[in-house]
Structure formats: C-alpha cells, structure tokens
Subunit: 363 residues, 4 copies
C-alpha cells in the first residue's frame, strides 16, 4: 500500500529528496543468479545524464551508483538490491526564493497544503532527480527480461515539429541525438530548442516507446492489466500528462473494421503454435484485454514543457499573498529529452514484474 513503491512481485521502493544526503532505491523480488555489475547500471545512468548536458539543466553530479546489497560475487542473490547515489552538488544552491513562493506548475503548493511542510531545496521529493533511481532499477529489470526482449523509446515530437514516420530509424536514435530517430528533424529541433532557451521558455514533447519480444500471455484480465500498469507507470513520470496505447486516441475516429487486428495462421508447421500466428495490424499496441498478444507493445506519451521558465509568472507566496516568480539562471528547455531513458526504465520494470507474475500463476 506504500506511497513510494510500485510493482507487485518485482517491487521498487525509492527514497530521497533533491538535496538530501542521498537518493536510492530498493528493488525487491529480483530472481537469484542474474549477473549484474554496477558498471552496467552506471551505463544507463550515464545515458540519462548525457541527456541533461547541452539542452537540459545544469546540475553537476557525478552520479556514481553503488550496489549496497543483494549482489554477491557478481550475481543477484534473491535478497533486496539497494542502489544509492550520494548527492554531491546538494549544498551549494540558493533556493531562497522557492522557499517563500510557490512556482506555478510545480508541486510546491500542493506539497505544502498536503503535508503542512515542504523540503523546498531543489523541489525536494518532487524533483526529477529521483528518476535517476528508476533508470538504475530499469537496468536490473532489463536483465530479468533477458536479451531477447528489446526495450526502446524515442522522441517523436518537440513542440510543433514531428518526426516524419517514414524516415524513422531506431538506429539513429541515441542520446547524443536527443533521442531523435531522424537526422533531418534533429536539426530543426536543435534550432527550436536554442530559440526557446533564448526566449526563456520551454517546449513540450512526445515520446514513443516499444517493447519487442514479449511473449503472448503476460498481464491479467481485469485489475492486473498490463496496459493499466503501464499507464500508471508512465503517468507517474514527472511532467507526463497523457498516454495512448497502440492506435490510442486514433481509435475514436475509426470504425470497428478499420480497427480490427485480424490474425493469420502461423507459417511454421504442423504443431499448434509451433509458429506463432501473425497479426495483420497492431492497432492494439500489443495488448488486448490486459494481456500481451505477442506483438510489439507500443505506446506514446505527452511530456509537458517544464514549468521552470525565465518569465515572470503570477503566483502566491506561502502566506497566500499575491506574488510573482521567475526561474533564474540557465534552464531546461525540454524535459521530454531526459524522460526518454526513464520511460524505457519504467517499461522494463512493469514488464519484468509481469513476467514474474505470469510465472507465479501459470508456471
């Protein structure tokens, strides 16, 4: 029932504020005998960190992860794996203005009203800093899923500029390219981002994600639905405001014939399911009735423009009085960029959990 955990059998619990001594997480329920090193986890963390470099915010952290428990002689032992990163750059900043004034679009106001107290340093618990632990945990989740499963995400739109689906190349999509799957679009995005920074505003983004190699049968019909768990996991990422699975909102304007994912006999041979049946289309996004179909799981989500902008905004202070606030210094013009590895991590975590759940009930 925890407020700071998710997962059913593979259970992730995190701790830490932006400026506490450390941030960390405990991943419980990991199967034993999986080879994992802190270097592998660090790689995923670096990928997220790189996404913060040019076009994102400027916190200087080395972000060195430590495995505190649960791994022995290079392998998981089945006991809880705790990961921790010391907050090094946590003391120097001046957040005096945030302490007294609520920033619109941030969690400042709701936190104060809910708890009557708020660690205002760097956004406290609501800071996106916590997401580094999700990325770290995601590295372990990928190991549980195994090498046949491919988890990947890309930016498909920044502001008004969409990637042309025809030029989509997963190969071109990596962190140094702002996770852009098309080189031509990238140039336009960079121009837009520079302009946004000059103007002191921020831009929204759309992320597409996929999981390939998931067998048919993960999930459950009603309240352990794979799509419901994915929706929660994605909506739980900072700044995400929408998710659509498969054809998503596109289904509204389709009729049932257009939307049907017809099935063809598997080509393989005599025995039932010796070769998997083929779907003609994948409007379902790989999930029907809460259960994976064996097709690629695919979805898309919306990330809002960061609320930290170099513009003076009307707000109230902690005494309820009218005030204004403006984010000073360099800022992050598009948080959707760094959300990409987080989306991948959350996707891996949800799927790894369902892999174990399926095994529990169905052997």
């Amino acid at each position: 029932m925890s407020f700071n955990s998710f997962g059913r059998i593979l259970r992730y619990t995190s701790w830490g504020e932006s400026h506490g001594l450390s941030i960390g997480c405990v991943i419980d329920g990991v199967p034993p005998l999986i080879a994992i090193s802190k270097e592998e986890i660090q790689q995923d963390i670096e990928r997220r960190r790189s996404a913060l470099s040019r076009h994102t915010s400027q916190r200087k952290e080395r972000d060195r992860v430590e495995i505190l428990s649960g791994v022995f002689e290079g392998k998981t032992t089945g006991t809880p794996i705790a990961l921790e990163i010391i907050n090094e750059d946590a003391r120097s900043k001046d957040y005096a203005n945030i302490a007294k004034v609520y920033r619109p679009g941030h969690a400042d106001y709701v936190t104060e009203r809910k708890y009557g107290i708020r660690d205002w340093r760097g956004g406290g618990r609501a800071s996106a800093r916590e997401t580094v632990m999700r990325v770290a945990a995601g590295a372990i989740a990928r190991k549980i899923l195994g090498e046949k499963v491919v988890i990947r995400a890309a930016l498909s739109q920044i502001g008004k500029i969409k990637v042309d689906e025809k030029r989509w190349s997963w190969e071109d999509c990596h962190v140094d390219n702002l996770f852009c799957p098309d080189k031509e679009t990238l140039t336009l995005w960079q121009k837009n981002l520079d302009e946004a920074r000059r103007k002191g505003v921020s831009l929204g983004g759309r992320i597409k994600a996929q999981a390939c190699g998931i067998p048919v049968g993960w999930g459950a019909p009603l309240y352990g639905k794979l799509d419901a768990d994915l929706a929660a996991a994605m909506m739980g990422i900072n700044a995400v405001k929408a998710i659509e699975i498969g054809a998503g909102f596109g289904v509204v304007e389709r009729d049932g014939l257009e939307n049907a994912d017809e099935m063809l006999e598997g080509s393989g041979g005599e025995k039932k399911y010796s070769s998997e049946p083929q779907f003609v289309t994948n409007n379902a996004g790989g999930i029907i009735g809460g259960i994976s179909t064996g097709q690629d799981i695919s979805f898309s989500l919306a990330v809002k423009p960061t609320s930290s902008i170099r513009k003076s905004l009307r707000t109230i202070d902690v005494d309820g009085k009218a005030s204004t606030v403006e984010t000073l210094g360099r800022h992050d013009p598009c948080v959707a960029i760094r959300a990409v590895p987080i989306v991948e991590a959350m996707l891996a975590l949800v799927l790894a959990d369902h892999k174990l759940l399926h095994r529990a009930q169905c052997g």
Copy 2:
C-alpha cells in the same frame, strides 16, 4: 497483489464471468455509519442498463443487485460489503462459434494462450458484464466522497463527430441522450449510429470526465500519484486505449508560458487560506505532482469501436488454423456510450480511496 482487485485502502475485488451463476464484488475498507440502500445502488445500475437499450447490445437482464453483507439497518458497518447480481440470461445463448474460433480484438486468443483454458461463453471474465459491479461499487464510493463532490462524465465525440465545446451543457447530458452534452450533436450521432448498425460496423468514442469539489492535497508525490491511479483505473476499463489529463497531448505543442497555470491570491480575507487561491487556468487538469490542486479534476479518454462487428474477419481457430469469424445478430455500435457510467464509477472509487489514504497519513 491480487489480479482482480484495485484500490489501496478502499479495496474492490470482483468475481464473475459473463455466464457464471452470478457476478459480484466485495468492497473492503468502507467507513462505517454511511447510509446506503440497495435502491440507491440499483439506480446507478439502471443508468448503465439504460445505456444498453437502443444503441447497445441486447442482453435481457433485470440486473437486480443484492447487498450480501456489510450493511446493517441501512448503514455501513465497516465490514466488507458484498454486492451480487444473479446472471439470469446466461444459459440461452449459443456461443459455439466463439468456442472454436478467436474473435479479433477480443481477449479470446490471449486468454487461451495465457491460461490454456477459456470460458468462452459470452466472453467469460473479459466480458464487459463485469463492469456492472464497478458501477454498483461506484455508488458506494460516491457516498464516501459526500455530497459536495460532483462526479460526472459525458461523451464528447462519436466517430468523427465532436461536440462543440461552446454548446456544452452538463444539464443536457444524461443517459437518454446517449450522455451527449449537446442536443444538436445528438441528432448527428443518432444518424451515424443507425448507419453504422446498418453497415454492421461499430464506432469509437471519446469520453470527458470531471470531479468537482475535491480539496487540495489528495494523492502522493511519486507512486501513490492520483493521476497514475486514475490512469490505471481508466485504462483498466474494457476498450479504453488512451487517457489524457488536463491539456493532455495538447501540452506537446505548447510552450511553458502557455501551459503555466498561474495562481492568484484568494479573495476571502486575512487568514491564510481563509479563501482558496485561484488558478487562472487548469491545464494541469486538477493534479500537479500527483496531488490534487483543488481545481476540477478533468480528463478525457478514448474508447475503441467494439470488435464485435457484422463483417467477416480473418482469424485463426483454436488449433491455430486459418478461419474467419463474424458477429451475428444485433450488435453494439458504440461501446463508449455504456462506458460513461463506468468511467464515473471508477473515478469515484479512485477518489474515495485517496480520501481515506490522505486521512490515514495526514489526519
């Protein structure tokens, strides 16, 4: 960890297949001393049932709900409330074709592959019939929320025809109007639905929902997020493929200034929060950082056209061989209509749970 439960403190568990002896649910954690009668619950059930009449499927059920436990002398006792509806019309139908062939877009195939067995009568557990219990449970959730909270949903689009937001009238929106908030649009929809039925196809729909009167502070920052729980609850409704909260996918093309929900000082008086601060806009949809802001909670979701259409579709049979399938008899041209009361019920359940959760931690 249950596969057939949701909620954290207010916990709903359902049972039942389309053609089992009965369907029902257990609602656990309901506060004591709340006045509730089966007639009140029946009202909500009737509202869902009416939505099935002209434009939806034709199962003839009286759907009489019984309160099996948890209510004594008209009041909740704090013990689990079990609700049950006997399946009366469960024996007569012929589902022989479904038994042998998987219907595209339905859960037939994934269920068989997951479990190795499938109650094919009427869709079994995956049937939308289960949703009647959600509606029943929702009636209790509304009682927990109290009269100051208004929960409501409407259809905002069927197929390609959208309601003009300017003519939106919640007053006009009721079950006899297909939950359409605009009389002019209704005429167009009815024409379209008739045409779809004639053609033997089905139409998708979009639902808008609102919760008004929710105080600031419900939810939790990271994994007990109100928006994440709502996303899971909505994505868990049959045929829902997308959800957006507040501005939703609209945030992608906005900049941070356009998307900022600025705040104004409350007008009320001297004491802090003697009057609530005002938000200039509500792009957030009433939830920031996973916590309610005190504004209306609002979101929108996509319901796919039902997969049961009077068209021959390519598929495979239970032996993996190529086959075709066509839904015979009258069918349901737009399942989004009957989804409206279900959306309301799930919204009420999630919010009632968070009301209790907030009380648990914050008193």
Copy 3:
C-alpha cells in the same frame, strides 16, 4: 492492504456476517487447469459441519456451497473463484439480549467502540460462521499443493487431559472422534465435555498440525517468512491465543546443543541432492530462517474456551451501565474441536501461496 483478505499471490477475500444473506469468499490467483468440483469442496465443509454436531453449537444449516465463478467445465480458469453459502437459518433467532449488552470475551464491545455500529445478530462479522469459507478455500489450496503434500491437524489436549504422544495415531484421528488421535483419550474427553456442558462452562484445547511433503525452499528470509505468515494465519482464527512452531516454548529451557538439528548426508547417490540430506531432529518444526527445510512443518496452538457460557457474567450494556449476561440454550463446550479443519485450511492456504511465490521469484 485489505482488512478482509490474506495471502500474497493466492489471495483470499471473504464477506459475510452470521445473519446476512450469504457468506462467501473470492480466491484470486489460482493457477488454471486444476480439476475441482463443488462436491470436493462440500466434503471439507461437511467435515467441519460434523464437528459441530454433538459437542458443538446447534445452528441448523445445510451449508451448500456454490462455485459462482472461476471454474469452467470442471477446471479452474485462472480467474477469481467465488464460493458462496446462503444463510438459511439466519432469520429465526432472537438475539435481543446481545443487541443491548456486551458479552465478555466476545467482539461485541470492541466492534461497537471501533465502528460505532454493530451487526449484533449472531455475532455479525466476528462470528465463527465465516470460517466455513476458509475451509472451502482450503479445499482449493490443497489442490494447488498437489497430492504429495499432506496437511493434517488433530486435537492434542482438551482442558487438562493431554493425548499421550506414544499412543498418537493419525489414522484414528477423524471428525467422528473429535479429531482425537488416541481412542483411550477420547473416552476421557467425552466425559469431560459432557460434564462441562452440564455445568454450563466451556473448555480450552490444543491443536497440533503438520504439513508433510513440503520441499526445501519455500518462504523468504525476512518479511515473507513462512513461519511469520503461518503465525498470522493461525492467530487470525477465532479464539486462538498462542502458537508455537517446532519445539516452540520448549526452546527456552534448552541449550544450543540440545536444540541443534544436525544434518546427515543423503543416502542416495553421487549427484548433489540426488537424495535429500537427513535431519537428525526437527526442533525447528520444518522452518529455519523463514524458509522450509524439507522436514515436516509442525506447530501447535491454543484455543480458548468459548466465551459463551451458561453462567451469569458481569458486563456493561451499550449505554456503558453495569449489567450481566448469560448465554442461554445449548452451547458449545469446546470450540477447539471445530477449529481443527480450519487450521488445516489455513495451513493449506499459506503453503499454496508460498508455493506460487517461490515459483515467481525462483522459477
């Protein structure tokens, strides 16, 4: 987090008061394709019912169980199994005295103080009637465990009369013998029970239980401990006040050498664990460090004399004023007797849950 559920993957949720329309339960997470009939479940219910005949209370119920869901063509489908028994004898009794006065030792007072309301008819939710559903669910749990696992319990003491361990015979222990494993002791018990009934008092009892055939490795080291889960399950049975596992309280007076369960090499052959190692003793009761050792799981528990006695006891009424109360009519001189099948059922449920849990994490 439910108040009326237990289990982690195999999850049992019950509903019902003594005099509601019905009592029932939902068992979620049952693996598919297990053959089960309502007749098999009924057998276990009859066994509990017989225990109520001569020496226990006199409620006349046929207790016919129905499977409402989750079983199709004689096999489990993986969806929730709901079981229900209609309360037939629920209307006739006069509980007017209980409505106004709290019976010492019963949950009357605490229920009223906790909830501010109380279904006083027959003890409401706190009635032992609910345990019939545990017995029913236990029948399914046994199926999940398979035929190699033997679950059994016996009465080892009633009042001051203990069974002589040397004469212990599991074969002689069945419901018609008051679950007494020794015929000589049985005669003494029957005499004592008759005397207790004449005097209008009740007697306590001790139950011993065993699970044989459990492999090494079920459980978890710290908070998913098999012994902790068993302790909770047993202490959750009405009237149970103590539990000891293996040597139990006996360990207090032993030294570490006496208490050591030494191990001997398996006799079987060359390959590691081709034959299981042998333990010289089983002071641990089959569980060490929260994990099954492969030995018999064995424990013992104390059941208090029922609080319903034909003696006038000092108490208070619902207005807090001094009063007296006496249970009229025939009464139940030793509730430990009918607790035996309930202990077995709870033991089966806990073990079946851990079987699935182990499979989830360790494959």
Copy 4:
C-alpha cells in the same frame, strides 16, 4: 507483496547483508510534522548495541545511523524516511568455513537450496544485523504513537531460571541489567551465562512485552487482526519460535468461566464512555476479536538458544557430503537478550501502522 517489507500504511522495507556496504531501511507513510532527530534514533540503537556487549557477540561497529531522506529542519515531511548504517567491520572476518559447510540451525542450507546462491559472509541477509534497522524504525514508530503510549519488553526467563512475577519491577529492567526485571534473578542469570560460555553452549530465553495506553478500537475483525499482525511481526524476528498473547497456552487448561474477562461500569460520570469501562481481568492480553480492548496489550515469546555454539556438530557441506562444523571464537550465549529492543521496535511498528489504519477507515 514485497518479501522484504511489512506494514500496511506505515510500511517498512529493509535492505542489507551482514557484510554488504551498508544496511538500511525505508519507512514509508510516516505522518508529516513529527519532530525527530538522528540522535533520538541513535539512542535506541545504542540500547540494542549495549545488549551485545558483555554477553553477546563481539562485532565492533560504531553503528552510526544517518537519516538520508524524509526529514527536513528536524521534522518529518511525509516522504519516505531512509535510514542507513555503514558496515565498518565487514571486511576483516574469515568466514571460509561457513562458505563451504552449512551450520545446523542457521539459514545457510535453506538459503542455498532456495536461491542457488548465498552470501555466506556473516550469515548474509539472514544475519541478526538487519535487526538494527528495525530498532531504528521503531524509534520513529514510537513518535507516531505519541508519549501516552508506553512500549516495553523484558526478559522473563533465561534457560531454566524464571523471574519471580512477584518481584517484577519494570523500573529495574534496563539494558545494563540484561533487561531483567528482578535483581535477584539477574545474579543467577549471570552465573548461568558465564557457565554456558565456558561450556561453549547457548541458552534460550523468554521475553514479555507490553503496550500500555492503546485505545480501544485498533485492529480489524478478520484479516487485519491486531493479534495476527503482532504474531507475524514477532515470529519474523530471528530465533523466535513461539508467541502467546494474554493467557496464551494457559487458556487450554482453563474453563470459560476462569477465562472470562468480565467488565465493570466506568466510574467516571454520566456520559457514555466519559470514563472507560473496567475489565476485571486481562486474559485476552488486550486484544479481542482482533481489536484492541483498551487494556494493556501483553504477550510473551520464546527465543531459541543461538545455533552458533562451540561444539562440533554433524552437518553436510555444499556438495551434500557429511561434514562437521563448530563455531570458533567467542560467541553469544543468549540471543534473547538483544532481542528485547527488537521486540519493542516491532511492537511499536505494528501499533503505529494500526493507528493510521484505524484513522483511515474510521476517521
């Protein structure tokens, strides 16, 4: 569903092995605005550490706790509180013998069989070292309970020597006295412990615990029972093999009249419950029907003699072959001593959780 968490709303999750980099825990769901300092937590840790001094094992650790998150300017913020202690003395020891041979009575064998891997350094996850975090978390739980609640435990028996109940003095019971509530008994115990150490054996112990000041109404009737949760929490402490609540196993030999806890009218005044009713006895140990009665909650538990003794014991090695093992160096003659503060901590944690649970449902 976590294997390494407990609690429902107040949720404790721990990590760490005996010789990992650190041990720690996350406490989630703590109400905001509770004043807490690391010095206060350290006090409880010192109390446990002192219990290890003369008569317990000799690990040299400073055990300095750090609060990593969840506390801001001396107060809880409602976000997860992570506590950590660095393992300083973790590298020096030689556990080569444990690596190859299973120690009887320890979790070595079951761990290896369950997971196929085992961190054998110092017992790994199964080491009692983890209990330091329970004590730390217990300090926070006491704060949640408030100053009116008194949580206390004492040793009532070591080996065959019991404390005379008539000489029981809670005042005399503190860590420097081996938590012995009677000075005369203490002398006998010390003699016995010295003798046990000389002989190289260990002794069992019995602990009594109490919670005073708990109001009537915490707990829940069936599966959220306060006594069931306590039983699980206590049985989950290393080496605990039995628990009895109130009269415990004593109820077996009593009749219902002897065991009745009669009630007297409160002396206070006119208004209902203006003064609490009085119970004549407390055989129930403060819990009836799973719910607190308002009397002292009291129970007793058995701690086995540590399995680490200076005697050669028959066992098997990791290849399944016959071997022997003997614990070398100084050892811990009675682990029950250091279990006392752990019992208090677990008691506080269970009660604090139920305080919040009660508030959630009943306001």
